[in-house]
């Protein structure tokens, strides 16, 4: 098992390395000079040249990459071109919004999807199953930002239960902050829950046709007990895979959703940075999210090994 996990860890690290090169090169080719951007249009060429030297922009590509990548490892992402503050501070400030949002959404999605999947699989082919899957089918097709608009319309504009957007900050109490995150989290979670519920159901149905399910039933266990004790754990393997993939999806989703709800999270930060050509901020946020995906995939690999004993001894 350690060999398996070490291999996955190695792959994760290589992935991060390659990703950093890709991100770095991509932003290298962007037109525009950061130094000029920081100094504004009125700056003289000499001033710009001086700043370029200070920022290390005149050094060879490889040196610049290594400096940047080395910085990443020590969480020193450099200074924002437009705000002239360390990028890490900007990120920290925004992460307190985005991170809870992603976690709430993932939890919500899982809590909804797995029971629904179980319920539908246990009643396969019956009306309840058909209805649940029809709703899920619509959920899968729902663009999350449009769903967000509908939620705002219903719960904020019409029922006035929650604010339509903005974020009061955690300093003013947990409840107002959470309240501001409820709708965005639902907008993110429900379409994902629809996908996950379908996967859970399909995985369970697949497992239920296995020979060992028949063995378990031949022992005299009723269908319900077989579903819980034998089917669920085997069906978790594809479900975990999808949950891992969904995390990446959720992260990207937060970027869009934060814009719908005017939440001061990473997504807003990225968009502001893009419009202001503050590329170092874009680079850093992208790398941070890629790292998050890699870490989550490692956790998924780890959970495979927990669920499936074959992985623990193989290799």
């Amino acid at each position: 098992m350690t060999a398996y996990l070490l291999k996955r860890l190695l792959i994760g690290m290589v992935t991060l390395g390659v990703a950093s090169v890709v991100v770095f090169l991509m932003l290298e080719v962007v037109p525009g000079d950061p130094a000029r951007l920081m100094l504004g249009m009125n700056a003289s060429d000499a001033q710009v040249e001086l700043l370029r030297d200070q920022m290390g922009l005149n050094q060879p590509l490889v040196v610049r990459y290594l400096t940047w990548a080395g910085g990443l490892l020590s969480l020193d992402f450099g200074k924002s071109y437009t705000y002239s503050v360390p990028v890490i501070d900007l990120i920290k400030e925004r992460l307190v919004v985005s991170f809870p949002l992603a976690i709430i959404a993932l939890t919500l999605s899982t809590l909804i999807a797995i029971p629904v999947g179980l319920f539908a699989a246990a009643r396969r082919g019956k009306a309840a199953d058909t209805a649940a899957m029809a709703v899920a089918q619509v959920g899968v097709a729902m663009p999350n930002f449009w769903f967000a608009l509908l939620l705002v319309y219903v719960f904020a504009v019409w029922l006035r239960l929650v604010p339509a957007g903005g974020f009061p900050g955690w300093g003013n109490g947990v409840w107002p902050a959470l309240k501001a995150l409820i709708l965005p989290a639902m907008a993110l979670a429900l379409p994902q829950a629809a996908i996950l519920a379908r996967v859970t159901r399909a995985a369970l149905i697949e497992v239920l046709s296995e020979d060992y399910i028949r063995t378990a039933r031949a022992k005299g266990m009723p269908m319900r007990a077989v579903l819980w004790r034998h089917a669920l754990r085997n069906a978790m393997i594809p479900v975990l895979t999808i949950m891992g993939l969904q995390f990446a999806f959720l992260l990207a989703g937060t970027i869009i959703i934060e814009n719908v709800f005017y939440l001061p999270g990473l997504g807003r930060l990225v968009f502001q940075a893009i419009t202001q050509r503050d590329l170092i901020v874009v680079e850093s946020v992208v790398m941070l999210l890629v790292a998050a995906v890699v870490v989550v995939n490692l956790l998924v690999d780890l959970s495979y090994a927990v669920v499936d004993p074959r992985l623990r001894t193989r290799q």
Partner: protein, 289 residues
Amino acid sequence: MSDAAPHREETFGDLVGRALANRSFVIGLFITLVVAGMALVSFFWTPFDVTRLIVADRMQPPSAAHWFGTDHFGRDVLSMIMLGARNSIAVALVAVVIGMGIGVPLGCWAAARGGWIDEALMRFNDVVFAFPALLSAIMITAVFGPSAVNAIIAIGIFNIPVFARVARAGALSIWPREYILAARAAGKNKTRITIEHILPNIANLLLVQGTIQFALGILAEAALSYVGLGTQPPMPSWGRMLFDAQTLMMVAPWLALFPGCAILLTVLGLNLLGDGISDIFDPRARRRI
């Protein structure tokens, strides 16, 4: 142990019969054809000319003249949705073609060669998958400038590993079959076996994945246009229409309703179609999402 009835697999007639009996397939095909038809018609005719802004007609609720109402520039929403369909389909379709065109050969090649080539391709896939697709599409369009073409490229790139993975997995399940061994014993090389035996046998998997990626492409294009990084005005796009509608939602909710429904229906239709196809070809195969 078998010599009873011959194994009944599909003949073409059976296939058509099963297709018509499959509810998902029929509904999905219907919706898809309606949307595609709308897009085609928009080349020749739309109810109103959306390039002309008629301020007098602005913000009209749905009526007999304007079925879906008008926007803040007085443009007819139905006409815009028709043009948007063309745009969405074009972007998603080309992105699928890019993904299939590069991904499928890569996946088949990896499966046929195995060894380090296979390993390298899978690791490359890991890298691409580590970038949240939409985030990277945002990055690409941000770097190279927002436009429909860049949106296509951004979405297409992320289709490549998906198709590579599906093709590889499908091919790997075909390679150990005895008929492949028989073909090898008949002296056929790997390229020929891939073309003659592997591709026809994974075509249904690829078709199903194609409809899924098509649907995801439409969602992605809408999201990109919504944040202003996809199709640029004045060309109408569903995502952009939703962005414009957001600030007007209190006064003109129909502006947000109809484009959203258009996206939802199109994606729903494609997903149903994909479900249907996978059921028809292999009733046992459960669809991966």
